[in-house]
């Protein structure tokens, strides 16, 4: 591969060098970059996905549209952007539980969940959840009954998945906002269940 530019340089210097060179070529604008990073640090996160789930729980028409075309349905609520182009929503139900992974890297539906947590990128999760999902989920605190079938969805550069969890019992009469507060990031990846009302 020739001379290694990384040799002896910290990651911070490597990024700075690259960013400078790209800026000089007009390929990166520092202000645009700052804005973009701030958006992912502050605005784009699992709350978007929670709103989607809460809407699906309260509006059967929306639920149907969400399951038919995830990308279009989340765009209805104003959520779109990179890594969300082909969003497929998989619905948990009695006897079936879905869990999402990206075995090769870290593909994840950014517009609805933000950036992935570190365990999602971890080699152990990526390798093991496919081979022994029940064990991995139990280790993460989710005990599923033997009768529940587990289906693992491997994300790719083409398709991202979002789990539509089951609505928790005891929530009839809850507003969309109250419901959204029960929906965690982990429940939308399928490694946890949504919260239950206090």
């Amino acid at each position: 591969m020739g001379e290694d530019p990384a040799e002896g340089l910290s990651a911070a210097l490597r990024v700075e060098a690259l960013e400078q060179l790209l800026a000089e070529r007009g390929l990166v604008d520092r202000a645009v970059l700052d804005g973009l990073i701030s958006r992912y640090e502050n605005d784009v996160g699992p709350l978007n996905g929670a709103r989607v789930v809460a809407r699906a729980w309260t509006d059967p028409g929306y639920r149907s549209r969400l399951l038919a075309d995830g990308t279009a349905a989340v765009a209805e609520l104003g959520f779109s952007g990179p890594q969300g182009e082909h969003l497929v929503v998989v619905e948990n139900g009695p006897g079936i539980h879905h869990v999402v992974v990206c075995t090769l890297c870290s593909c994840y539906p950014w517009p609805v969940l933000g950036l992935p947590p570190s365990w999602y990128k971890d080699p152990a999760y990526r390798a093991r959840v496919v081979r022994e999902p029940r064990t991995v989920l139990a280790e993460m605190g989710l005990q599923l009954s033997k009768d529940t079938r587990i289906r693992v969805w491997d994300s790719s550069s083409e398709v991202r998945y979002l789990v539509l969890p089951q609505r928790p019992p005891g929530t009839s009469g809850f507003s969309e906002e109250q419901l959204a507060a029960l929906v965690t990031r982990d429940s939308m990846v399928g490694v946890a269940l949504p919260g239950t009302p206090a």
């Binding site: 530019p5 911070a12 790209l22 090769l104 890297c105 950036l115 947590p117 982990d186």
Partner: protein, 107 residues
């Protein structure tokens, strides 16, 4: 290294208790990829291919796995492979930045 201010106004943003980026350079490397993809200078699928290859190489080598290291390696490799920057100028610029007078090393 100053301990992170977890509670106060300077607290870094967290998602379900986890930092989105552990260090500032990670966010810059992330942002550079997104920007290049948005402007069409890079295709996401090409970057992802390189990222997958780096992750696989690190996993097989038994080196400690650090996700954004793989990301940065992939970013350097793909920008060099697509002739967006040259490997030698990356190294030169990096060395130049490293040689700055302390205290003047912030953009």
């Amino acid at each position: 290294m100053t301990p992170l201010d977890v509670e106060g106004a300077a607290a870094p943003p967290r998602r379900n208790g986890e930092l989105v980026f552990a260090e500032p350079w990670e966010s810059r490397a992330f942002g550079v990829v997104l920007t290049l993809c948005e402007t069409g200078a890079l295709r996401w699928a090409d970057f992802r291919g390189e990222l997958v290859a780096r992750i696989e190489a690190v996993e097989q080598s038994g080196e400690p796995f650090r996700y954004y290291r793989c990301w940065l390696d992939a970013l350097e490799r793909i920008t060099v492979a697509h002739n967006i920057v040259a490997r030698t100028e990356l190294a030169e610029r990096g060395r130049m930045l490293a040689a700055r007078v302390p205290g003047h090393d912030h953009p």
